[in-house]
């Protein structure tokens, strides 16, 4: 439906513009929702206006004025605001021809939503609500959090922004690197949630946000690199599951990879690399790119993971380096790196370790590691994948016993899966 497309693209822009005018997210949100509701009723009947966004902003602005008038019993401050607004109130037609002059304030909005004075969960929920246009229901569902909790979290965040005076502004240069890192972390977290579940398409939401950021900050290499990274990962989405089973990269049907996303990701990566600055997303995007070539250049991948580990100090990065090192120097070399890491709570640590143990022929240790990974697995495809691996090593172990036994033990006649 055409209106859905407009809604998706314009919700964030209209809302950001209204917040810029009103300085109150809740009021802006209500007014924006009303404007979209009016559009849903009128546009199919009367036709889409020449400048949809100008129409939506003007309508929302007028709705906000109405709302403020209804609240006139409130403080004098509010009446003052209402008077200011009245001066700005224009018939929708007035904005029709001004498309080029409508400022895009989504960047201000995302920096507000991802302000470090807000809890991370609140930053994520608020970004999806305000810029992504997701409903509270959809956000709750996507993160498997009760509706009530999500709703309270959003309300509390909006109130804190208002009461504590969290600015609606792009941070000054000296703060920009830190604050931009916070924004990118939120977008990437949304993307990674999308990989695990596949309920609401969070990966698509994150890419949508990444595109908006790349439009708004075309000279920031990390912004371009994050979008490249997400596209390169997402390009393999269709090949990643087969009949509900996780398919490892080497076994994936490459014809299912989305070449348009790969091309776009690679072009962005090139653009980011010309900027002379390396950040963690640039390195990760370069690694994601290397993973798409056959055969894979494990030495270069391992070297990039080393760079990334230095930049981030993250044990998860070290874990990934261990996988690359295992490809070059064998599973024991990878296991030696894993043994130094404190990642017991991390499910992929145990599945990675199990895999290397299996390849090193240490089957009983592999069995324990797979079991531990299974305990921590969060999605059904993950659980099925791990159960299959467990059955595989049980079968291998059984065969080994049979091979080496002088007389066949009764247990050896059992086939896996019986």
């Amino acid at each position: 439906m055409a209106l859905d497309a407009v809604f998706r693209d314009q919700w964030g822009r209209v809302l950001a513009n209204l917040i810029g005018i009103l300085g109150d997210i809740e009021l802006a949100e209500d007014a924006t929702a009303e404007a979209f509701a009016v559009a849903a009723e009128r546009w199919p009947r009367d036709g889409e206006p020449v400048n949809p966004i100008g129409w939506l902003i003007t309508t929302a602005r007028n709705r906000a004025i109405d709302q403020l008038r209804r609240r006139q019993v409130l403080a004098a401050k509010t009446r003052l605001l209402a008077r200011d607004l009245e001066a700005m109130a224009q018939p929708p037609e007035a904005l029709m021809d001004e498309a080029a002059t409508i400022p895009d304030e989504r960047l201000e909005l995302i920096f507000t939503c991802c302000h470090p004075a807000l809890a991370l969960e609140a930053q994520v929920a608020l970004t999806l609500r305000t810029l992504g246009g997701l409903s509270t229901d959809e956000i709750a569902l996507a993160f498997l959090v009760p509706f009530e909790t999500t709703s309270k979290r959003l309300t509390r965040a909006k109130h804190k922004i208002r009461d504590a005076g969290i600015p609606f502004a792009v941070p000054p240069d000296h703060q920009l690197p830190d604050r931009l890192a916070a924004v990118l972390a939120v977008v990437y977290l949304i993307f990674n949630q999308g990989w695990g579940g596949g309920r609401v398409d969070l990966a698509a939401e994150a890419i949508h946000l990444g595109r908006a950021l790349a439009d708004l900050m075309p000279d920031e290499p990390e912004v371009l690199a994050l979008l490249a990274l997400m596209l390169l990962h997402d390009s393999r989405k269709a090949a990643r599951l087969r009949d509900g089973q996780i398919v490892p990269l080497d076994d994936q049907d490459r014809t299912l990879w989305d070449t348009r996303q790969i091309d776009e990701g690679r072009a962005l990566l090139q653009r980011a690399m010309t900027r002379q600055r390396t950040g963690p997303y640039l390195v990760q995007a370069a690694i994601a790119d290397l993973h798409l070539y056959e055969p894979r250049d494990w030495r270069q991948i391992a070297a990039l993971y080393e760079t990334l580990a230095r930049q981030t100090g993250s044990p998860v990065v070290e874990m990934n380096r261990a996988i690359a090192v295992a490809e070059i120097d064998g599973p024991e070399a990878g296991l030696a790196i894993l043994d130094r890491l404190d990642l017991d709570h991390y499910r992929y640590f145990h599945s990675t370790r199990a895999d290397l143990l299996r390849r090193a022929g240490r089957h009983s240790e592999a069995h324990h590691a797979y079991r531990r990974a299974l305990d921590l697995a969060q999605t059904e495809p993950e659980q099925r994948f791990l159960q299959d691996r467990l059955a595989e090593i049980a079968a291998t172990a059984a065969m080994r016993i049979c091979d080496s036994a002088e007389t066949a033990d009764r247990g050896c006649h059992r086939q896996p899966g019986e």
Binding site: H115, D163, G165, P167, P171, Q175
Partner: protein, 114 residues
């Protein structure tokens, strides 16, 4: 906007009242955007009154029992939270390790000259 910066300091051995305000902090207190401040006696001097269903309960000591105690508060004027955090950050640099500053927007109030 107006903000209150509540400064929580780790316990100390020396007598707080006998020490002067460190020079760097004294300089910050004279800034025009610092509209008021109060340095508090150590938490051992605190008395807490509690409304227990209409009955006033009196206890010796601070309300919050923690390793850090409320050492003082600053009332400041700032354009937004980032401005308040920047000033709080400057103050924090002059404090002892382990000190924390809670930044709270002021809803309303009246501050007379000390």
């Amino acid at each position: 906007m107006q903000y209150a910066l509540l400064t929580y300091a780790p316990a100390e051995n020396t007598d707080r009242a006998a020490r002067p305000i460190p020079g760097a902090i004294a300089a910050l207190l004279d800034r025009p955007d610092v509209t008021g401040w109060a340095r508090l006696h150590a938490d051992a001097s605190a008395t807490t009154l509690r409304n227990d269903d209409g009955r006033m309960l009196l206890t010796d000591g601070p309300f919050i029992d923690s390793k850090e105690y409320l050492a003082g508060l600053f009332l400041i004027e700032a354009g937004n939270l980032d401005g308040a955090l920047a000033l709080a950050g400057e103050l924090l640099q002059e404090t002892r390790p382990g000190t924390a500053i809670e930044v709270r927007p002021i809803l309303e109030g009246r501050f007379r000259g000390a």
